[in-house]
Amino acid sequence: MGIEEAPSGFLLTTVEDLAGYFRKGSLWPVTFGLACCAIEMMAAGASRFDLSRFGMEVFRASPRQADLMIVAGRVSQKMAPVVRQVYDQMPEPKWVLSMGVCASSGGMFNNYAIVQGVDHIVPVDIYLPGCPPRPEMLINSILALHQQIQDQPLGVNRREAARAAEAAALEATPTSAMKGLLR
């Protein structure tokens, strides 16, 4: 039985902190570039921006050895099943970073050929805007994801947190129904 399947909520918070600390310290991203954002992703991994400062310079060539998928670029309809398969092949726990506007919302490609946001296919943990985002922005978003992983609850607490997040999202006013200034 892994720590994810702990039966109840007691004693978990300390374990959560410890597990989050270890997990965030060695994320293994999968080698997965789709378009121009991948160039910035490679730059982030190379010597100038040096992603290895945060324990993740080795992009794994197999999704079975990875726990972070950086969706770097627009996802075409033809590529969508491949993206999903890569995600399915990654072992739990796993996280998805949607890099750039194209992966996040379709971006400038509002047409028949491109999936309008990779969250139609896989659950996304963090969205990174930009066209393409600078390597510093990618590193910043990875650090933000680290914080998210550090604070991530486990087991029962995680399921409760997911349910609460879903309820809050259903309650929220859709963006198109908001009034007032664009801010």
Partner: protein, 264 residues
């Protein structure tokens, strides 16, 4: 309009023009200059986005672009073009095919003498494309060994000749390039495959099938290449909708590009 008139879009100028509306829209395609033959106009497109029905707010409503078909060029074509066409006709005749049966026309564009660098296009009838390719590849005076691919074109206004396949051939031996063009009707979009002559055309023909719906008869595996296998339609045709979804902003929703209101 040849002269700039800062005061108006044509209507209120000193001499009123009959071929221009008050909004600046040009009613007829511009006439060809003296001494040049009229091109066959297939279609006239106006404005920027192809939408109609409301006032022009963009200033692009006056754009007029006639879509024309080139005329067959009279001899001499200039340079090595005459030699290549002569050799092609001779070798085809030896194989039992008359040149005029296999070839609809030869176009050198822009016309010789205009000073610009010209290009040779041979318009081939679909049933003879394989024989023409074989001749162009194998004859020692032609030797077009390299095919750079098969491209597609769609002219929905050109009834009976809607779909074109274009083959770019290069002779490494002689340092020459020419273009073959095959026209088929939308109702019967069938061209024999050239993969028997140029194996590299395999994926190119799959691409042209995928995007334009031209069927290459005899192709070893004519499957879609860029779109998913179960995709309906052929996306690069002019009448294929762009698609897209409405984009939600705070307090507003913007429809996808081809459903927005007209700007011309």
């Amino acid at each position: 309009m040849t002269e700039k008139d800062p005061g108006a879009g044509g209507g209120s100028a000193a001499e009123p023009r009959t071929d221009v509306t008050a909004g600046g829209d040009v009613l007829a395609a511009p006439a060809a200059p003296e001494g040049r033959e009229e091109l066959e106009v297939v279609e006239v497109r106006t404005g920027m986005f192809g939408a109609h029905g409301s006032g022009d707010t963009s200033g692009f409503g006056g754009l007029v672009r006639p879509v024309t078909r080139p005329l067959a060029t009279p001899r001499p074509y200039g340079g090595w073009y005459d030699e290549v066409v002569d050799v092609l006709a001779e070798v085809l005749a030896e194989g039992g095919t008359a040149f005029d049966t296999a070839v609809e026309g030869v176009v050198v564009d822009p016309p010789a003498g205009s000073g610009a660098r010209t290009e040779l296009t041979i318009h081939v009838r679909p049933e003879h494309i394989v024989a023409v390719c074989q001749t162009l590849r194998d004859d020692q005076d032609l030797r077009f060994e390299l095919s750079l691919g098969v491209s597609g074109m769609h002219y929905p206004g050109d009834v009976g000749r809607e779909l074109h396949a274009v083959y770019h051939l290069t002779s490494i031996t002689h340092g020459r390039s020419l273009r073959l063009e095959v026209t088929v009707p939308d109702a019967h979009p069938h061209i024999p495959t050239t993969t028997t002559v140029y194996p590299t055309n395999d994926w190119h023909e799959r691409e042209t099938w995928d995007f334009f719906g031209i069927v290459f008869d005899g192709h070893p595996a004519l499957a879609r290449i860029a779109m998913p296998d179960d995709w309906p339609g052929h996306p690069q045709r002019k009448d294929y909708p762009l698609g897209g979804i409405p984009v939600e902003y705070k307090g507003a929703t913007v429809p996808p590009p081809d459903q927005r209101r007209s700007y011309s």
